[in-house]
């Protein structure tokens, strides 16, 4: 399956921002912050317009190449997706 279209999509009106409390998303009055360093790295990558899931996994993976390392990084991205589910769009980019 072609995964080049697998990208994170923020819901309309949701933006990444950061302040003294760290990285987070802003959607209207809601401001959920990243819960850990890995989620902060993901938000930083999104802020830099890196939406591809592969790129986000690479952004989190600071242990180098390898199935296990990439797997652990993918788990972190999956956790991010579940935590911020309310602000993300499900589905593949058309």
């Amino acid at each position: 399956m072609d995964n080049t279209k697998d990208e994170l999509c923020l819901k309309p009106g949701t933006v990444v921002f950061h302040d003294s409390n760290g990285y987070g998303l802003r959607s209207g009055a809601q401001i959920p912050y990243a819960r850990d360093e890995q989620q902060a790295l993901i938000l930083k990558a999104v802020e830099q317009n890196q939406f591809a899931l592969k790129a986000l996994i690479d952004a989190v993976n600071n242990s180098g190449p390898g199935k296990l390392q990439e797997g652990i990084a993918a788990v972190a991205v999956a956790e991010f997706i579940l935590n911020f589910e309310a602000y993300l769009r499900n589905g593949r980019k058309e």
């Binding site: 399956m1 996994i57 296990l68 997706i81 579940l82 499900n90």
Partner: protein, 786 residues
């Protein structure tokens, strides 16, 4: 003591077989152990013939010439004819008297010297099974002795005795005078029967044979090698051949396996208690346990070691079996042994602590489960990484973190990371676990992954490759199956995805696990059902079943059979449904098992279709707290729908809040299929419940439900109530009438007088508002009465 069996207690089937044999054969050979009433039965069947009676037990009987006026010769105790001269005498009689029928009675199997008559079609063999009483015959015998049991008692008597004539004869004497059938009476009958076996069979064997019989009684089946091991006698083949010749209490399958007739085996076990000291009995059981252990039959080995009082071996085997078969089914099979283990023995073993935690969780004792988890945690905390037990103990702890049902799936993301690390950490050895727990689903298998369904596309894209590359064979096809299921439950068209998934089925079978194979095929089957192709779905499922049988994956069969029953419900295959309910469905009287939830829900569907919604509610009641405690979203949804249908059928207004809660949950996840699949059963509730929180979702759900109703308009439809319902006796008569039995045949089968049957048939026709039997049969089918 010779049993008395009344003169006219011969089943119609036996009489028919005998009379057919009388027409075409010259020799009729009765082969059955003692107590089957061979002599009396033969006497009844030969009524009206001029019979010359002989017995092989009387030496002079074979030297006296036959009476020239007789047209039938009855020879009893033929198994005693071991002398070739005597055998030739009987053959001579048969050969020179072509107009005479010979009826031979034997406790043993057909001997070689009579086989030529069988090969040439001159001999009919009647076996023990044909002499067993059916229910009607049992009722008649009891009645002749002044015993009139209730229908329930008659059922219990027939089940307990299996129609064994001796048992029923003794029972009829014991129950004379109005004594009800109860455990104490059954025990007395058993004791009297065993005393008879002792006198008539056992004491006639020499001591070495008796010793062999008692030792072999520990085994349900055995072969000559096992018999040699147990007895220590290299001539055991000869001993077994002698037993086979003298009695059919021992059976041989013709290849290599022997087994005792079950009642005789019970007698031998009883005899063992009479004749052997406790130490001797324990020794016999331990030898038997060792033999089973050598064959890797841990289930029977545990039984024998437990009976032999060898608790050390029980403990060792539980640990060994848990290591070999870590799947959750193992714990239920061994449950009694786990609970019998002394606590201090369990606390010494991480494998046993893990087993206890899983087992208690499966039985919904979550408090005990967490206590055992805590004990294992403490055990690990006391170890160093260099300790020999550390790897096993740590691995078992991680396994519990993943597999315990009460842990839900919220923290599972952390655990997946932990699993990834564990699987590549040389210091750990994770036991095998099943994502599906033998259920046909990844999303609703061992854990409920409904929460993930909300972001299924993103999570699939993120986790697909890591799951396959890190989990190895456990991950092959996992993510693809999960995304397909998620979309299917949302009512989306998954044809493209399913095609891609099915293209991998060979890979899943070869390199993956049978669990993912079943989940994948289960999804395919569910899609076929939802497309109105229930017959195709059934064929697909039969192939899956066959595959599991051939590959020895029997742990899936219970859920396969439940799935099959759900398809039968759509096709209206009532006989098959009834049989599943009678023979396979879990009983509510046995302990509740969370892992049988799919079967409990299937049973509830059957009970709804049978018009007994109150029984359906009983079947699924224990599941409700389980689903709540273990965050089972999908199961909760199905349960609420089933409960709503039950209440609706009972005309109880509580159906509405149940369905509204279910619809709230379904809408939250976008799930269409879990509700729509109930089609005709849920449609009237859906159209009147007034749920309006999400009109677009509701319209989609309604359209999908209507589609299912068109495909299966009678799904879970109860029998239409008659103005005046049929009595239980009338239902019995109607059932036989639908099988084209005449009134006389019905009377014979039920043991009731003919005028009574005629009256019942008249009543049935009147209640069904029909004039003819053929119309009654049609009405029974149309109204789904049986």
């Amino acid at each position: 003591m010779k049993p008395h069996i009344s003169n006219d207690v011969v089943t119609p089937a036996l009489r028919e077989a005998f009379e057919a044999g009388w027409q075409t054969c010259r020799v009729i050979f009765f082969s059955a152990p003692c107590g089957f009433g061979k002599t009396t039965t033969a006497g009844v069947l030969l009524a009206g013939q001029t019979v010359c009676r002989r017995s092989a037990a009387q030496p002079d009987d074979l030297s006296a010439p036959l009476d020239a006026t007789c047209n039938a010769v009855l020879i009893d105790e033929v198994h005693l004819l071991k002398n070739p001269v005597d055998q030739q005498t009987v053959c001579g009689w048969i050969n020179v008297n072509p107009n005479v029928h010979f009826v031979l009675l034997s406790r043993g199997a057909l001997p070689g010297w009579l086989m030529p008559y069988q090969f040439t079609g001159l001999l009919l063999a009647i076996e023990a099974q044909q002499l067993m009483f059916d229910r009607a015959t049992t009722g008649r015998l009891l009645s002749q002795n002044g015993v009139e049991p209730t229908a329930g008692e008659l059922t219990a008597i027939q089940n307990d005795s299996n129609g064994y004539p001796l048992a029923i004869s003794i029972l009829s004497r014991r129950m004379a005078g109005g004594v009800p059938y109860q455990v104490s009476v059954a025990d007395e009958v058993r004791r009297e029967m065993f005393f008879y076996f002792e006198e008539a069979v056992y004491r006639r064997f020499d001591p070495s044979l008796r010793q062999l019989l008692v030792r072999l009684a520990c085994f349900e089946h055995f072969d000559a090698e096992l018999a040699k091991l147990i007895s220590g006698d290299s001539h055991v083949n000869d001993l077994l051949a002698q037993i086979l010749h003298d009695t059919t209490m021992l059976q041989f399958d013709g290849v290599e396996t022997y087994h005792f007739w079950p009642t005789f085996r019970q007698f031998l076990l009883w005899e063992m208690k009479q004749d052997c000291t406790v130490e001797e009995q324990n020794d016999i059981y331990r030898r038997a346990g060792f033999s089973y252990e050598l064959q890797d039959d841990y289930f029977h080995a545990l039984d024998c070691y437990s009976k032999g009082g060898d608790h050390r071996k029980v403990c060792d085997l539980l640990i060994k079996n848990a290591q070999l078969h870590p799947g959750v089914a193992h714990y239920h099979e061994m449950e009694q042994y786990y609970y019998a283990m002394p606590r201090e023995d369990v606390l010494r073993s991480p494998v046993l602590m893990c087993g206890m935690s899983m087992l208690t969780a499966m039985c919904l004792d979550f408090e005990a489960s967490e206590q055992w988890y805590a004990e294992l945690q403490n055990y690990v905390a006391r170890l160093q990484k260099s300790d020999a037990n550390y790897k096993e103990a740590k691995s078992r702890l991680i396994y519990l973190d993943i597999a315990l049902p009460q842990r839900g799936s919220k923290g599972l993301i952390d655990l997946i990371g932990t699993v990834f690390r564990a699987m590549t950490d040389k210091n750990l050895r994770l036991p095998a676990f099943s994502v599906t727990s033998t259920l046909p689903s990844v999303m609703n298998g061992g854990k409920d992954f409904c929460e993930w369904s909300k972001m299924d596309d993103l999570l699939y894209a993120t986790m697909r490759l890591p799951l396959e590359t890190v989990l190895g064979k456990d991950g092959i096809g996992l993510a693809d199956c999960a995304i397909c299921e998620s979309k299917f439950e949302k009512g989306e068209d998954i044809s493209t995805r399913l095609l891609a998934l099915m293209a991998r089925i060979n890979e899943i079978q070869r390199k993956g696990t049978p669990d993912i194979f079943f989940a994948t095929m289960g999804l395919m089957i569910r899609v076929q059902v939802m497309q109105g192709k229930a017959h195709t779905a059934l064929s697909t499922l039969e192939e899956v079943r066959q595959n599991f049988v051939e590959t020895g994956q029997t742990r899936f069969l219970s859920n396969v059979d439940a799935m099959r029953c759900r398809i039968w419900l759509r096709l209206g295959m009532q006989e098959e449904i009834d049989r599943w309910l009678r023979e396979t469905a879990p009983s509510i009287t046995s302990h509740f098992r969370a892992m049988w939830r799919y079967q409990y829900m299937t049973k509830a569907m059957v009970q709804i279709a049978c018009g007994t919604p109150n029984e359906a509610l009983l079947s699924i009641a224990p599941l409700l707290p389980y689903c709540e405690h273990c965050a089972r979203i999908m199961d909760s949804l199905h349960l609420r729908v089933l409960v709503a249908i039950c209440h609706y059928r009972q005309k109880d207004d509580h159906w509405k809040p149940e369905l509204l809660t279910a619809l709230d949950a379904a809408a939250d996840y976008g799930f269409i299929t879990p509700v729509a699949q109930y089609g005709a059963a849920i449609l009237p509730l859906l159209t009147t419940c007034g749920w309006n929180k999400d009109p677009a979702f509701y319209q989609r759900l309604l359209a999908a439900t209507r589609e299912q109703t068109v495909y299966y308009p009678d799904f879970l439809r109860p029998a239409i109530a008659l103005a005046e319902p049929l009595t239980p006796a009338e239902k019995q008569v109607l059932r036989l009438l639908c099988h084209n039995r005449s009134n006389q045949e019905i009377a014979d089968i039920l043991g009731v007088k003919l005028p009574t049957i005629k009256s019942q048939v008249r009543s049935i026709l009147q209640k069904l508002s029909v004039k003819r039997r053929s119309e009654a049969k049609e009405a029974a089918e149309t109204l789904n009465l049986l």
